[in-house]
């Protein structure tokens, strides 16, 4: 697979997006996708998040940075309530996605997780073929004919910038793909069920730099159709791909603002110390 063929499916960052990245946007004037107020999180008796409040702007990439163990993953794992599969994990507060509090007991978890896709630190292909990995979610949520499923699989793989590499081996096990391909497969799998919000928890921490740059290109194109919340695996990645950045420290949100501002002229001393490498 040559780089030029690859380009067919990875849309180059649009001019609009590039311009947008250059200027400093005011988050308070953008539509809000996720509104979080006084979110606390507990692992058993131990509190991990303290009074988190943040507005995640729609159709933007928001990065969450901070030293390891500061609650970045914990924070985004509340959005789709994935933490709930562990008995002792507990969240309190308000997490509104499109104005509805997802922490409410009446929330339909299956619909929530369809709407809020998640990508993990390690690629997690299901033990089935490449095709079935994508078709799996589609079959869960839609009554689709074989033809419709096939179309949707193709569409998702194209959006995941993987179609060109796998179109001739769709029936092969997904585990035979390279790490970077597996991670793009997972992104395609999330996209296939038409989410509105995509959570990415250090999606590039287990893959090589070339594969990483492909995924960063892909994130660039995702912003046109989805809201992305990303825990980057280093600060450079946050600077490269995100529009907004939140700095977390010991479970508190210290500062939130346009990425450019956070990285060049943060308001908070702690943020500045972290950005300039004085700690963390």
């Amino acid at each position: 697979m040559t780089a030029t063929e690859e380009r067919v499916f990875v849309k180059p960052p649009s001019e609009v997006a590039k311009q947008r990245r250059g200027e400093i946007e005011d988050a308070s004037r953008l539509p809000v996708k996720v509104k979080i107020r006084s979110l606390n999180f507990y692992y058993g008796g131990q509190q991990a998040l303290f009074n988190n409040s943040i507005d995640i702007p729609a159709f933007r990439v928001t990065a969450i940075i901070g030293p390891s163990g500061c609650g970045k993953s914990t924070h985004i794992r509340v959005y789709n309530r994935i933490f709930e599969i562990y008995r002792s994990h507990r969240a309190e507060g308000i997490v509104e996605i499109d104005g509805k509090n997802v922490l409410s007991p009446v929330t339909d978890l299956l619909k929530l997780r369809k709407k809020v896709g998640m990508i993990f630190q390690r690629p997690t292909p299901f033990p089935m073929s490449i095709y079935d990995n994508i078709a799996y979610g589609i079959k869960l949520h839609y009554r689709a004919s074989r033809g419709e499923i096939a179309d949707r699989v193709e569409d998702a793989l194209k959006r995941g910038a993987l179609w060109g590499e796998v179109k001739d081996k769709l029936s092969e096990p997904a585990t035979a793909l390279s790490g970077g391909q597996q991670q793009r497969l997972c992104i395609a799998r999330a996209i296939a069920v038409e989410p509105e919000l995509i959570l990415m928890d250090e999606p590039c921490s287990a893959i090589d730099p070339v594969a990483t740059s492909k995924i960063e290109d892909l994130i660039e194109t995702l912003r046109d159709s989805y809201t992305v919340v990303l825990v980057p695996h280093n600060m450079q990645q946050a600077a490269r791909v995100s529009d907004f950045t939140a700095f977390f420290y010991k479970g508190h949100i210290v500062e939130f603002g346009p990425t450019k501002k956070i990285f060049t002229n943060p308001d908070n001393k702690q943020t500045e110390d972290y950005i300039t490498g004085r700690f963390g």
Partner: protein
């Protein structure tokens, strides 16, 4: 300061030690231990072949196909024993496989950790119960239950099938199959539980993450991820059921007959061997029992090979190499 300098000087002057000799000794010792397995295996096979020679010379291939087992007339055929072995094992597996997998799923995914620990402990205990106890319980308690409740129920509702016809005697092939199911259940359950616990949490999270229910996660992701281990567990249980002797001897009825009805008495290879070695006065009788043992040995070997091949094939498929 002075002392440490002295110590260093000491280390430098002491004689070097030859490490390679103990290593060589260990290598040979390990090889010898491993050889024991081969010797035992070959010894068993050789003795079985030697002792069964007379029976095979006498009856030829018809030893395998004839269901006549008549010590007085000196006629021996293994068909009824082979049939009983396969049918009772088949019944056991049909019941034990789904039951074990469901229990394992419950233990890992559904139950509260405390409940899971309790039931898990009971499962392990069940595996430790000696087979003679299963046999006694089977004969005195379970067979009576079969006679008064289960078999009448089956003939009433499924009596049209030849499988469930005939008088309810309590003991018989069906009862033996059920006892075997109880005996292999803890093995398959325990291994399947361990296999399910090995499924990486992040894989389950991603299944839930695309909106799977617990059932969908288990069915399409966890069980699929662990299917190699589960197939291994099933074959382990299968091998155990094939060769199980004591419990089956108690409840199967020990009759050398092939009957379509699962209610009727039958026998397995292992139960015949346990029952009849004492009575085998004629050399041809004894040799026929050895031939029976060789057949069981062969059946076990065939299924082991299939299991081995199957697991290896799944491994290849998973690696994407075909």
């Amino acid at each position: 300061m002075k002392e440490s300098t002295a110590a260093i000087a000491n280390v430098a002057t002491c004689a070097p030690r030859d490490q390679s000799r103990p290593d060589a000794v260990f290598k040979w010792l390990a090889a010898a231990c491993a050889l024991v397995v081969i010797v035992i295996m070959a010894g068993i096979f050789f003795e079985l072949v030697r002792n069964s020679g007379m029976a095979f010379r006498e009856f030829g291939f018809s030893f395998l196909t004839s269901d006549s087992w008549n010590p007085i007339a000196g006629e021996f055929g293994a068909a009824s024993s082979i049939y009983g072995t396969l049918v009772s094992t088949g019944i056991a597996m049909i019941i034990a496989i789904p039951l074990s997998i469901i229990i394992a799923v419950y233990l890992v995914e559904v139950a509260h950790p405390k409940v899971s620990g309790l039931i898990g402990g009971a499962v392990e205990l069940l595996a430790a119960v000696p087979s003679i106890i299963y046999g006694m319980w089977g004969l005195f308690v379970f067979a009576a239950l079969m006679q008064t409740h289960v078999q009448p129920f089956l003939s009433r509702h499924l009596g049209a099938l030849p499988l469930f016809q005939g008088p309810p005697m309590g003991i018989g092939v069906l009862t033996a199959g059920l006892i075997l199911a109880f005996m292999v259940l803890p093995f398959i359950t325990a291994i399947t539980r361990d296999v399910l616990m090995m499924v990486p949490p992040v894989l389950k999270e991603s299944a839930y993450g695309v909106g799977s229910t617990m059932w969908e996660t288990v069915r399409f992701v966890s069980l699929k991820y662990g299917r190699r281990g589960i197939v291994g567990a099933v074959f382990l249980g299968f091998g155990r059921a094939l060769g199980e002797t004591m419990a089956v001897t108690f409840v199967i009825g020990n009759s050398h007959r092939i009957s379509a009805s699962l209610f009727s008495a039958g026998n397995t290879i292992a139960s015949s061997l346990a029952n009849e070695f004492n009575e085998a006065s004629e050399p041809i009788y004894l040799s026929s029992l050895f031939a029976l043992a060789l057949v069981l040995f062969g059946i076990t070997l065939v299924f082991q090979t299939i299991a081995h091949y199957w697991v290896a094939r799944m491994q290849r498929l998973e690696a994407g190499d075909r």
